[in-house]
């Protein structure tokens, strides 16, 4: 961990006004639930956003998570198949649900 912090500090220190050194946004491991459907969620959601984006929505209803999955497909154009739509919704509701259907 110390090395990581040192590395990031060095990166910051080398930033100049013109960014001659490419800016590197750190990658963070968010503790997401792993079960048999984890990979289905991963291959559909991870294209565009971190797991932090999922975890920090709060506990939500099944309908909420279903609408989120639909929005990601219809508005943000994530290529989610009909079958994955169902699996991802169930995964999110199971681990990040509030036990309410609606």
């Amino acid at each position: 961990m110390k090395n990581l912090i040192l590395f990031i500090m060095l990166c910051v220190a080398t930033l100049s006004a013109d960014y001659r050194v490419p800016v590197k946004v750190p990658s963070i491991t968010f503790p997401i639930a792993v079960d048999q459907d984890f990979r289905v969620m991963q291959r559909n959601c991870q294209w565009c956003h971190s797991y932090g984006y999922v975890l920090n929505q709060g506990k939500q209803s099944r309908e909420f998570w279903h609408k989120v999955v639909i929005k990601m497909r219809d508005v943000f154009k994530a290529p989610i198949t009909k079958e994955d739509e169902k699996t991802v919704t169930e995964y999110l509701f199971k681990h990040y649900g509030n036990k309410k259907l609606k």
Binding site: M1, L4, I5, I8, M9, C11, V12, L15, A17, D18, Y19, R20, P22, V23, K24, V25, P26, S27, I28, F30, P31, W47, C48, H49, S50, G52, Y53, L55, N56, Q57, G58, K59, Q60, F64, V68, V75, F76, K77, A78, P79, Y96, N98, K100
Partner: protein, 398 residues
């Protein structure tokens, strides 16, 4: 297990603690004392971290004792996963096109040399700041109250840029597009539209923040500044300005960042309001920077309460402090006003005599007489926008 300890356990535990009983809608204090990450982002010190892609960083409470929020503590909120780094800033261009006589392609050098330079100090606040106060839990990142900050910005008037391009008769909308990019081609990019009459003299295209280049994560090299308005319109990494005759439909204008278009701006989960409006201007709000929750104070010692207050630019008239749960209120002392759009620092000294818990509340009133309501009085909206409840911090007197 103490709530505070619980937050220490997991990096993103904030969301987990937000499960609600959700019987009826009831608003409460937003989450507080979230864990600060061990990882620092470029040009930032470690902050409360909700996501790395896109980056979402919140400023901890103790930063809000000062009128100016330092750049390395300033909150970060992006919508798109791909944020270009402009390695060669000399080749960066802001394109002005559409319904104009003379389309422009402006470099940062052009901005600094060809236009009048303007400086102003203003509060930048995410429309969803304090969203975690709402119950039932609304959609969106469950922010505490640190998705805000106040900085001094330097740049060029948007109006001056538009005038130099020469707007054609009938021009009435200005589209502003940031350079952050979606992953999927057809995905909507983050474009905002302003009606021409909304573009006042203090709407600027800024390249400097608190005397330094705009930090990368705050929109380097240029972003829009619209004092008084929520930050969803303050387009970062501004790259395209498009003038048009008619309003174009946009996801981030027509679907996101909207509230019920009724007097209370409220609705219920079972009865969502179909007529909505953009969130636009900020309401009056204050936030205690010191002491933070669970601070231990020795009995009979002086405590200097400090915090910040702001509104949409009418200015703060007073900030009242209560030490008895909101039954009685006393005026705090206000520091000098940097600008009517800036954080106004308030100070209040007291000497706790009895050991035990003491709750400190702060309530701001603006020059129009608008005062902050209690947290539980704030009514619900589906996006969890515009929370401005009276802030509350509980300390321990030992």
């Amino acid at each position: 297990m103490q709530r505070r300890d619980f937050f220490k356990l997991s990096f993103v535990a904030s969301a987990v603690a937000l499960s609600t009983s959700a019987l009826a809608s009831s608003t409460r204090q937003p989450i507080d004392s979230q864990k600060i990450s061990t990882v620092a982002f470029p040009e930032k010190r470690p902050l409360i971290t909700y996501s790395d892609r896109p980056p979402l960083l919140e400023t901890p409470r103790d930063a809000f004792t000062r009128a100016i929020t330092p750049n390395d503590e300033f909150f970060v909120r992006w919508h798109m996963p791909r944020i270009p780094t402009h390695t060669y800033i000399s080749s960066y261009r802001i394109n002005v096109s559409g319904f104009v006589d003379k389309p422009l392609s402006l470099s940062i050098k052009n901005l600094k040399e060809d236009y009048e330079q303007v400086q102003l100090t203003a509060v930048m606040q995410c429309g969803g700041n304090s969203r975690s106060a709402f119950s039932p839990t609304t959609s969106g990142i469950q922010w505490g109250s640190g998705a805000m900050g106040c900085a001094s910005f330097k740049g060029v008037r948007l109006k001056d840029i538009l005038e130099s391009a020469g707007m054609k008769n009938g021009a009435s909308w200005v589209g502003l597009n940031g350079d952050d990019k979606p992953i999927m081609d057809k995905m909507p990019s983050f474009v905002r539209e302003l009606a021409l009459h909304e573009i006042k003299d203090d709407v600027i295209v800024a390249y400097e923040m608190n005397g330094e280049d705009l930090p990368y994560l705050n929109g380097y090299p240029v972003r829009l500044i619209i004092p008084g308005m929520y930050a969803d319109s303050w387009v970062k990494m501004l790259s395209n300005i498009t003038v048009s005759k008619e309003y174009k439909e946009l996801f981030f204008m027509d679907t996101a960042y909207r509230i019920p278009d009724n007097e209370c701006e409220c609705e219920t989960e079972d009865n969502l309001v179909s007529k909505t409006k953009p969130i636009t201007t900020m309401n009056v709000k204050s936030y205690i920077g010191y002491p933070t929750s669970n601070t231990q104070i020795t009995a009979n010692s002086n405590v200097l309460i400090k915090g910040v207050a702001f509104d949409s630019g009418h200015g703060i008239k007073e900030v009242l402090i209560s030490l008895d749960g909101g039954k009685t209120w006393e005026k705090s002392e206000l520091e000098r006003e940097l600008s009517s759009h800036a954080f106004r620092v308030f100070k209040f000294t007291f000497r706790p005599k009895v050991k035990g818990k003491v709750t400190i509340m702060a309530k701001a009133v603006n020059t129009l007489g608008e005062a902050q309501p209690f947290a539980h009085e704030i009514e619900w909206n589906h996006g969890g926008y515009k929370y401005n409840g009276i802030d509350s911090v509980t300390i321990k007197v030992v």
